[in-house]
Amino acid sequence: MMDLKFQFESLIDFWQMAGHGPYVWACYALTFTSLGLLLWAPLRRRRALFEQLRRQQRITEHEQQLKSQSAG
């Protein structure tokens, strides 16, 4: 397709970006952190919900056990 060449002499040059490093890396860091948070938030909500429902189910099971014990 096309010749893809690494555009910097070294990793240090890559980091510094000829003086524009702070601008570029700040943007990328902020963006990927934000995207990560967007991904993590629904997962956390889901896990918390399932934990709550599991607890609820255990309580209901326990109550039913007690009921069947006392009925018998």
Binding site: M2, L4, K5, F6, Q7, F8, F14, M17, A18, G19, H20, G21, Y23, V24, A26, C27, Y28, L30, T31, F32, S34, L35, L37, L38, L39, A41, P42, L43, R45, R46, R47, L49, F50, Q52, L53, R54, Q57
Partner: protein, 248 residues
């Protein structure tokens, strides 16, 4: 035309079960595109003749801006569908889209500001496009605030939908601002009907990032909507069956 699928959307459960397989696929595709696009744009695309390396912010700024606008369409259209057809799922999509769109608008504004400093010498200017994007952020935040402002979810949804729809007037203003007014922000480089003014070596990673951001938006929107469905239906048998089956 078969409209059955539209009627099926009346059941959030049907939507939830139908989209089970989509999440892993969207995750792999979107994250791969974002990683490849970012690496390519950062390290393998040539530096800009005038701007040097600061232009590499384009690989975030442009996709975020596109999605800030596309996300608004999603929010407004699903709000309208919920309003007209009283479809619960549409309301959930609208609610889920708002924080994602707000985040992307925020990223577009911040990356634009950071890019503007070395390029234009200023962090901020009350330029037509930039100001109307700020208004877009406020609209998103307004929709989110309305969701929490009412006792009844139905009223909140109506209010959010109406604000979203009224705010649609901002969208053509954002698009055409660079044509209608003398702006600092440059006019469109990517064109659908004629040749783009950006070089191919810089364009390809940009296209990857744009598609990657679209896929990522779809992924996160889907995840949020699905979680919203589970929360609203947490008293039902099918959700509790999911929990019992050992899902996390």
């Amino acid at each position: 035309m078969n409209w059955q699928w539209f009627h099926r959307l009346g059941s959030p459960r049907w939507f939830y079960e139908k989209t089970n397989a989509w999440v892993p696929w969207l995750s792999v595709i979107s994250i791969t595109l974002l990683m490849v696009g970012a690496a390519w744009g950062l390290g393998f695309a040539p530096a800009d003749f005038k701007q040097g390396n600061s232009y590499r912010i384009i690989y975030i700024h442009v996709p975020a801006s596109f999605l800030a606008l596309a996300g608004y369409y999603v929010m407004a259209i699903s709000g309208a569908v919920g309003l007209i057809w009283k479809m619960k799922l549409a309301d959930m999509v609208m609610k889920s889209a708002a924080p994602i769109g707000a985040t992307l608008t925020f990223l577009a504004l911040i990356t634009g500001a950071v890019w503007g400093k070395p390029t234009w010498g200023t962090w901020w200017v009350w330029d037509a496009r930039i100001t109307s994007m700020l208004v877009l952020l406020f609209l998103y935040l307004g929709v989110m605030a309305l969701q929490g402002a009412y006792q009844h979810q139905d009223t909140a949804n109506k209010a959010s939908a109406i604000l979203s729809l009224v705010g649609m007037v901002n969208i053509p203003i954002i698009y055409k601002s660079v044509d209608w007014w003398f702006t600092l922000h440059q006019p469109a480089t990517l064109k659908l009907t004629s040749e783009s003014t950006i070089h191919a070596s810089m364009l390809y990673p940009l296209l990857l990032m744009i598609v990657g951001f679209y896929m990522f938006f779809a992924l996160v929107l889907l995840m949020r909507t699905r979680t919203e469905i589970l929360e609203r239906e947490k008293k039902t048998k099918w959700v509790n069956a999911l929990v019992q089956a050992g899902n996390r």
